[in-house]
Amino acid sequence: MAKTLYIDTSKCMGCRGCESACKQWNDLPANIKGDLKGEKFEFLPFNGTYQTKTAFAHQTYTMVKMQELAADDGGVKWLFGKRQCMHCAEATCMMVCPVDAISRTPEGAVYLDKEKCVGCGYCVQNCPFNVPQLDYNQKGIGIWEKKSSKCNLCADRVQNGLIPACAKTCPTGAIKFGDREEMLALAKERVEQLKPKFPGARIYGEKEVGGTVLYLLTEHPGYYGLPESAVVPWQVRFWKYFARPVGELAVGGGLLVILAGLFFNYVMPAKETPHHAEGVK
């Protein structure tokens, strides 16, 4: 049965309890010291907002993004958007993974198996939401073990009848987890409720990506760092539906030439002696 993680951003107050619960359940270390996208720091950087995490990382599966907007009444609006893997219906990461380390659970989550992952980084580079990130562990001189990491929608909890850690901990009910139909109905009801006060209220994730995550946004998706339409990158389609089949066909043709060549030269050689140039003196 397809489940859905429903995030009602209008109810999010930015407490970041979901970030902590995620780290606790998935046993992920804090970002006290580290290197995020080349930026090195010793402590959590203060960047003037209530957002503490700047990007997904191998130890950060979820984060609450914050955006300040000028309100019409002269005040400010705070937008909080809890972000994690979208568990896309047509998952780019699944398409590109060369070792089938990424699969779909019966509940609809896109599950990344770190045991099978070889760290090629295809999913990292091609994800339309830039969610998966590589975990580096040095094993020797020049030898690094790399593992892609991302939210698995607490597949272990869900399979045992629990709800994901982020949904469980959310004190305002902004994060809910349940059957898709039920969540979609909740979202639609909420949009109607919010329309008078928030004309920009909309559902995100019903048609976009069509996955297991549904958002209720009060403003344009861009303010939450979400792409307006997230589709499988054209390069990936070109790769999977053109480059590979055409290339493999060409190699198949080459192998056929070898087989034909061996057969017609050795098993069934020409009857007449082939033409030879005059002997060279």
């Binding site: 070792v99 070109f238 290339g247």
Partner: protein
């Protein structure tokens, strides 16, 4: 001892390639195969299992693929260009110069692969098939090198380009492998073309073979010595 002149005929053999041309060919061959085998870990079915184990694990293979990329990208071509300008000039001139005879030979060559006789025009130093192979080697080499650099340091390039590098790398290597099937079959197993392997290994190729397969070149440059 002074190098013999290209085209020198001695003991029924013709001097076809100088040692630099030979070395450039084999540095390219060895590095290409090393890259192919290490690269197949991410391509062959189950490659990350059995093949990676054979090569010392995926983490070691990842390093090996980068190690062999260096001679592939940086040694064979500069070696030819800087140490055998004559050989490089001939190679480039031949692969970019196609006349009617080359096209006729290309179109009519298939029966020859199968050991049947075809009436074909005479060829210069490289016949049309070898010219095509050279073009493919050069351009897939450029494609593999550029896309490989992008994949090696993805954070230094825009994301759309990194994403494009993967299909380019695949298409280039598969295209080259397709050509390689024919190239290797002809040089290793084909009863007549096999003689070319001796030429690119020792520099000296059978004179009768050269006269038959590279008629234009033979008439122009071969002198008794």
């Amino acid at each position: 001892m002074a190098q013999p002149k290209i085209g020198t005929l001695r003991n029924g053999k013709v001097y076809r390639f100088d040692p630099v041309e030979v070395a450039a060919h084999w540095v390219h061959t060895i590095s290409f195969f090393a890259l192919l085998i290490t690269g197949l870990v991410l391509f062959a079915p189950g490659g990350a299992g059995w093949l990676a184990k054979l090569l010392g694990g995926v983490n070691v293979t990842r390093l090996l693929h980068r190690v062999f990329a260096v001679p592939y990208a940086l040694i064979s071509l500069p070696l030819l260009v800087f140490f055998s300008p004559r050989g490089a000039k001939e190679w480039f001139r031949e692969m970019f110069h196609w006349d009617k005879d080359d096209i006729k030979l290309m179109m009519g060559y298939f029966p020859e692969i199968l050991g049947r006789h075809a009436d074909l025009p005479e060829a210069p130093k490289f016949n049309a098939g070898e010219k095509f192979n050279s073009l493919l080697t050069l351009f897939t080499g450029i494609g593999l090198t550029l896309s490989g650099i992008i994949m090696w340091w993805p954070q230094s390039f825009p994301q759309w380009l990194v994403r494009l590098a993967y299909p380019v790398h695949d298409l280039a290597f598969l295209g080259m492998c397709s050509m390689l099937c024919v190239h290797i079959f002809l040089s290793v197993a084909h009863p007549k073309m096999r003689a070319a392997l001796e030429g690119i290994t020792t520099g000296w190729a059978d004179a009768e073979f050269c006269k038959e397969h590279y008629g234009k070149w033979y008439k122009k440059v071969v002198t008794k010595g």
